[in-house]
């Protein structure tokens, strides 16, 4: 069974500090929701409130339609995987996985069957008699997931489960997590710092900043239509280039420093002369023969990453930082000055005051940003 999770005006205060501020979120049954945000923005706190490890200061939490705001963690039908795995060091792998079941009145052979099944799914059948200290980080990670699976909960909660693994193992576990989710179909709330994890695993991404939800949307949506400046700067790698500019016509922004005019992919209904912030994805800068306005870039460092080259440098004229991501090997461009065309599809315009995206305003949620 899988169950939806609903947060209604959930708030958390520690002392006088409001850490989570009136969060509203509805995860459908079986949905994979990823929470991202800067360190300290309240991701773990939110997850811990759903788990029942932290009491809410206000609002309600519903799991499968049932109000669990005051319920104990074990009564919420959830399982949680911690960043440091939190295995019981004195128990074997099998005991770790079966601990929750031994506390219920589950019959012995039923417990053995479920532990065996989870171990088979995760490929840890050979490790069942070992103690956690005799396992590698990746194996511990699997045991932690096994412990969650064995309980057959309606909702999985993950708090940065892969962040202690090396890059290769993380990529491998990420794929396994996706497969596991497809196989079990359980509602999942997943906290991560990792962009790739967020983009690849999520049905919907929730971007948090200082305890306030900035945007909720599918990966493509938050990437292509960031609701505000924060989301634009947070999602995408390398980080989006941002410049102060002025709207000169409904579809053109002028960058006074660099004395360039950049064409947009859409028209904006705002008075000419309005102060805006222009965002250009590093992927939207092209080294090519295209006619039209060019940005002149002083390249300082050119990083060849195998399929693309990331140019780090400054915008000639204004000296603002500029990053471009070009296909192919352009390592030779280091210390040179290049002219880059701008792909309008990768441009975004934000109101300099409200920081909201002027191209794709989402009116229905505009009251959430302060």
């Amino acid at each position: 069974m899988s169950a939806g999770v609903e947060l209604v005006d959930v708030t958390k205060r520690f002392g006088g500090n409001t850490i989570v501020e009136g969060i509203n979120l509805a995860a459908a049954a079986g949905e994979f929701i990823v929470l991202v945000g800067a360190s300290g923005c309240g991701k773990s706190t939110t997850l811990r409130m759903i788990a029942g490890l932290e009491a809410v200061s206000g609002g309600r939490i519903l799991i499968g339609g049932r109000d669990v705001t005051a319920a104990r963690p074990d009564q919420r039908d959830i399982a949680m995987v911690f960043q440091n795995y939190a295995l019981y060091p004195h128990m074997s792998v099998a005991e770790n996985m079966s601990f929750a079941l031994t506390l219920t009145s589950a019959p012995k052979d039923e417990i053995r069957r479920r532990v065996g099944e989870a171990a088979r799914i995760l490929g840890i059948e050979d490790l069942l008699d070992r103690k956690p200290r005799a396992l590698s980080g990746g194996q511990r990670q699997r045991v932690a997931m096994g412990r969650a699976i064995v309980r057959e909960p309606s909702v999985f909660l993950f708090d940065e489960p892969l962040s202690n693994l090396d890059a290769k193992l993380r990529a491998q576990m990420r794929v396994e997590l996706a497969l596991l989710h497809r196989r079990l179909g359980k509602t999942t709330l997943y906290v991560t710092h990792d962009q790739v994890e967020a983009m690849t695993l999520a049905d919907r991404i929730v971007i948090l900043e200082r305890g306030v939800i900035q945007q909720i949307g599918a990966p493509a949506e938050v990437f292509n239509r960031p609701r505000n400046l924060f989301v634009a700067g947070f999602i995408g790698s390398p980080v989006m280039n941002l410049f102060e500019g002025r709207l000169v016509s409904p579809d053109t922004v002028e960058l006074p420093g660099a004395q360039v005019r950049v064409r947009l992919s859409a028209t904006i209904s705002a008075p000419a002369g309005k102060a805006v912030i222009l965002g250009i994805r590093p992927q939207g800068l092209l080294l090519g023969a295209d006619a039209g306005p060019r940005l002149r870039m002083r390249v300082k460092v050119a990083e060849f990453l195998g399929t693309e080259t990331v140019l780090n440098g400054t915008l000639a004229g204004s000296g603002e930082t500029l990053t471009a991501s070009l296909n192919g090997d352009h390592g030779a461009l280091a210390d040179r000055e290049v002219e880059l065309a701008v792909d309008p599809v990768h441009t975004h315009v934000f109101d300099a005051e409200t920081k909201l995206n002027l191209i794709q305003p989402e009116k229905e949620r505009s009251d959430e940003t302060t």
Binding site: L53, P73, D74, A79, A86, H90, R133
Partner: protein, 300 residues
């Protein structure tokens, strides 16, 4: 985590640096033990030159092992250690579990609870002697309030034995308390949270997660308390001097009397060797049950 074996040269370098300290530790630890054993083979009185000491061979040991007073005091010691250390472990663990939370004012209580440990044993003995005093002691005064007749606490064999146990519990429960508090504080809180999600309530959490996770702390605490309990002297010296009769005459009290009242240092040394053997055996047993020094598995 697997440990990669250090290359030979670096292991040798390590020995080079550790050796001086190790030799000093060994010498400081072994010298008194060896001289105590050696003394057991001589007949020597204090204040006489060592050169006049007479070699007696195994005689002292033979006398000691045939002396019923030795076995009786060993039995008294065992009873004393068993009762007081069990009570201290139980109370210390219980108190630590009760006071580990972050409730307001707990810091004050924690400090209060460890005060007895800081008092010199002689002072503890004197304090309890006053408390237990048949005529002027507050304990009898308190009992009088409830209409209970005054008791000669230190004059009755059973009550005197109880009295030394009470004073030991009073002084050493705090030691167990702080060891366990420290152990509990070192438990990774997310493990406890995982257990709560798994459905463990207080008792299950304590018995199946917390206590097993601090098993090594409990073992080392138990060993230290046992060793101390077997060597207890000062409080008994002040409180009962082994009496009434020989009811509270623990082994170290008997050693003291043999050495300084009986002036039989050889015999006293021989009994000391017996005490050492018993303590070593108990330590070995406790460490075998849960060895905190080994890197292997512990705490079942």
């Amino acid at each position: 985590m697997a440990m990669t074996p250090a290359p030979h040269s670096s292991a040798r370098t390590a020995w080079f640096f550790i050796l001086p300290a190790a030799i000093i530790m060994l010498a400081a630890g072994l010298y008194p033990v060896i001289s105590a054993i050696r003394l057991g083979f001589y007949d020597w009185s204090m204040g006489t030159p060592w050169a006049q000491a007479r070699w007696t061979g195994w005689t002292s040991f033979q006398i000691v092992f045939g002396d019923p007073a030795v076995w009786r005091s060993l039995w008294t010691t065992l009873k004393f250690a068993a009762v007081s250390v069990s009570a201290e472990m139980f109370l210390g663990v219980a108190l630590a579990l009760a006071l580990e939370g972050n409730i307001r004012g707990m810091a004050f209580f924690r400090t209060l609870f460890i005060l007895p440990m800081m008092v010199a044993p002689i002072a503890v003995g004197l304090t309890w002697r006053y408390l237990f005093d048949a005529q002027f002691g507050p304990i009898n005064a308190l009992l009088a309030v409830f209409g209970v007749a005054a008791k000669g606490w230190l004059a009755d064999e059973t009550l005197a034995f109880a009295a030394i146990i009470v004073s030991d519990i009073w002084q050493w429960t705090p030691f167990v308390f702080i060891m366990v508090i420290a152990g509990l504080a070192s438990i990774d809180s997310s493990v406890l949270e995982a257990a709560r999600i798994d459905g463990a309530r207080w008792w299950t959490l304590t018995r199946r997660v917390k206590l097993p996770m601090i098993a090594h702390v409990l073992a080392i605490t138990l060993v230290m308390r046992l060793i101390d309990a077997f060597r207890v002297l000062e409080v008994i010296y002040v409180l009962t001097f082994g009496g009434p009769g020989d009811s509270t005459e623990v082994l170290s009290m008997y050693i003291y009397k043999t050495a300084f009242i009986g002036q039989k240092l050889g015999a006293a040394s021989a009994i000391s060797v017996l005490l050492l053997a018993v303590v070593m055996f108990l330590t070995w047993l406790a460490l075998r049950m849960s060895n905190p020094l080994a890197d292997g598995e512990n705490g079942q």
